[in-house]
Symmetry: C2
């Protein structure tokens, strides 16, 4: 929907919230999708949001609540009358319910679980077992499975009765008596098959499944590689537990990219939209890293103080320090962000670390020669003596090689240490490059200029 | 497929490439998916790859070639015997063909188009009209459309005959006599409908379509918002031109995130996998930005030289320069990467620029107070006089506010100027923060220390 169109609809809908205009309200709701209604709900104040949700029918209300973030869901549900909250919860899908309940403090969980229909509560309890960012954590436990002895026609009849309930029916998984996964049929294969053919004769046995414990990034990688719309999740005995759908995976891709970008920028990722996050939350997400980096970087002062004699002798040495450490930081983050991204895409693994260092050494050396020439010319253009020019140039050369190799290796090493490689690829590599850069610079100054 | 499993299959398949083992080869191919075969093809030398593709049946060969990157496709097809290349091209899907042909130099295009079946050549010519990164550029022109007067049963019969050819049949678009889009039916609705119901009574008229010129990032945003599996692409007269499918959109999301991360790291994005890129290509992608930033950052030398008198008077002023410019850079890139990501997610637009600046000013001021206290303590701990401590602290305070507000506004402004905001959020903000930081620092030194 075009943006202007949306703004118009929003205004009309809010104007029709008045009880006397119920028919007009229903007409407008029918024109909007849950995501649009959720966007409208998120854009208004709390009172209006509450009235909006209270005026919608229960199923639409559930779809809209599902689109809100977990904080928004909690807020809203806690303020609805209990009967209404119960009705909306009953219409929500188990995976969204599990995300909601999972974020609640232990004490509140039981209360919410008691509001749910027994079946849903059971589903949610099962889902809560899996880590939030695993295949089990993002799967839906509501899926359609077929028996291999069904006919194509029989399967279609079966779908007619159950499909409106299931979240995904484009791939149909086939299970045996023990609910073990034995094959997959696409809805497309089903309708193009002969109506009397048995499922086991149509199904593909080459079905790829993932264990419930698999990390969500790994799951996303499989979706991208094989262009799946859904992937079945199994336990150690190959029993089908649930299905991960492509829309959840898009959220994963987007979430992980968001996190990487914010960590590269040197801040803890925020989960809410920018304008929904409070000033306090923005400050909290940033101050930690700012402090840590400040402490780490404050050693540059110690290093500089250690070379006070050299600095006093040739004050012009100081002029090139920002340029030197910036260039080192740039060379380091180029290598780190490239390797980070290649890791996310599954192209580079820890086993490749020596190959990465080798490549980055060569790339760094070539870049270093080019930049060293520039640095020399720059120093001479500022009217500095040739000896200072040689010092700056050779420091730039060495520092770029060091920064590129360390920058290339660091994301792989941090991942190996089970830390987040994005953190290492952002300000951490800059900090390391700064410290090493200063030491190399002053040591070379001593050597070349004899101070 | 587990990694070890894959390595094993790969070794078996390559061992079975010998003409005398054709049966074994066919058996192994049947166990693998095109994406696996493509991964194997990408991992071997050129001769083996050629033999592998030559040994596969034409349809499987086409699926494997589709999974390779465009460069790999060109290389391979140019070395296959013409008859074989023609047969493989005939099996490839039009959108992959268009990507392939689009990358060829003008002179070669005609030759490749002549190798294609006339229908495909026509499709490809149509697709080449659209920019590579638009809805038109990523859509497939092969889709199934229904007439509204068909019955559900009639539509299913129709699908039986055409579906195996079409890339996507989970959403069926309904068109009128002039091929204008009038509705959409999901395959699920179709099979759960009464067999005599007419399509126009089942279909949803609330169909969201996108213009062919829409940027692919915007298309991806709609997929994420509405959890679509496919979206129809129309021209100005609402005539249905093609369909964008969710697997293409996952590639878009991943590609855009890759680019953002590499640009944040201060390098032109590489498109090939890390180890496939030549050293020359790695150098070329990085040296441009390294040069540009070097020139921009070399003004820090000019600034420092302008304050030589102050530096000579209080050599300790230099000790805090790396710390000051690093902290400024950190505060700036925190704000910039957060705003960049919020823009990608569609949460923040140019119209919000003053609100962003307002928020960042407040956040910067709070962070600045905290960091200023630390900076003062750090200076005193190094044994510097209180006056130098006040200078460093107040410079840190001012610089963090400036960096946060400029960092927050810059991605919005660069986007407005139709430049890539990711570039501005990486090293550019650091460079700006450095220059401003130094000037603020020395001016405050003059003021506070009276030098």
């Amino acid at each position: 929907m075009a943006h202007n169109n949306f703004e118009e609809r929003r205004a009309e809908l809010l104007a029709a919230l008045d009880p006397s205009r119920r028919n007009e309200f229903q007409r407008l709701v029918a024109l909007l999708r849950p995501a649009d209604l959720a966007a409208i709900a998120a854009s208004v104040d709390e009172e209006t949001r509450l009235r909006l949700i209270a005026t919608l029918d229960e199923e639409t209300a559930a779809r809209v609540v599902e689109e809100l973030d977990v904080e928004g869901q909690q807020e809203l549900l806690s303020r609805l009358p209990e009967a209404r909250a119960k009705a909306v919860l009953a219409e929500m899908s188990p995976d969204d319910l599990a995300d909601l309940v999972g974020e609640l403090p232990e004490a509140h969980r039981q209360r919410v679980l008691e509001l749910l229909p027994p079946d849903d509560a059971q589903h949610v309890r099962h889902l809560l077992v899996y880590p939030e960012r695993s295949a089990g954590g993002i799967m839906t436990p509501e899926f359609v499975s077929l028996r291999r002895t069904m006919t194509a026609q029989g399967a279609i009849e079966f779908l007619r009765t159950v499909a409106p309930e299931a979240e995904t029916v484009y791939y149909l998984y086939v299970t045996d008596e023990a609910r073990r996964l034995v094959g997959v049929v696409s809805l497309r294969q089903l309708i193009t098959a002969n109506s009397e053919q048995r499922i086991e004769d149509i199904m593909s046995r080459r079905v790829i499944s993932v264990p419930a414990a698999m990390d969500q990034e790994e799951v996303a990688r499989l979706f991208r590689k094989y262009d799946f719309l859904a992937l079945p999740v199994v336990n150690d005995d190959n029993v089908l537990l649930g299905v991960v759908t492509v829309d959840d995976v898009m959220d994963v891709l987007s979430e992980e990219a968001s996190e990487d970008i914010q960590l590269l920028g040197g801040a803890e990722p925020i989960e809410e939209p920018y304008f929904s996050a409070s000033i306090g939350s923005l400050v909290r997400k940033r101050i930690g890293w700012l402090f840590v980096l400040f402490f780490a970087q404050s050693f540059t002062g110690t290093i500089m103080a250690a070379y006070e004699a050299e600095l006093s002798a040739v004050i012009a040495l100081a002029f090139f320090i920002p340029l030197l450490i910036d260039t080192a930081g740039n060379a380091g983050s180029q290598a780190a962000s490239l390797v980070l991204r290649s890791m996310t895409l599954g192209q580079v693994r820890f086993a490749d670390v020596t190959r990465v260092i080798g490549r980055e050494f060569v790339v760094g050396a070539i870049l270093g020669v080019g930049m060293a020439v520039l640095a020399f010319l720059r120093a001479r253009a500022m009217g500095e003596p040739a000896q200072l020019g040689y010092t700056v140039a050779s420091a730039i050369f060495v520092v770029i090689i060091v920064a590129a190799t360390v920058g290339g290796a660091l994301p792989l090493i941090t991942k190996r240490l089970r830390l987040d490689p994005a953190v290492a690829s952002g300000p951490v590599i800059t900090t390391i490059a700064d410290g090493l850069g200063l030491i190399i610079y002053f040591q070379l100054a001593r050597l070349i200029m004899g101070i």
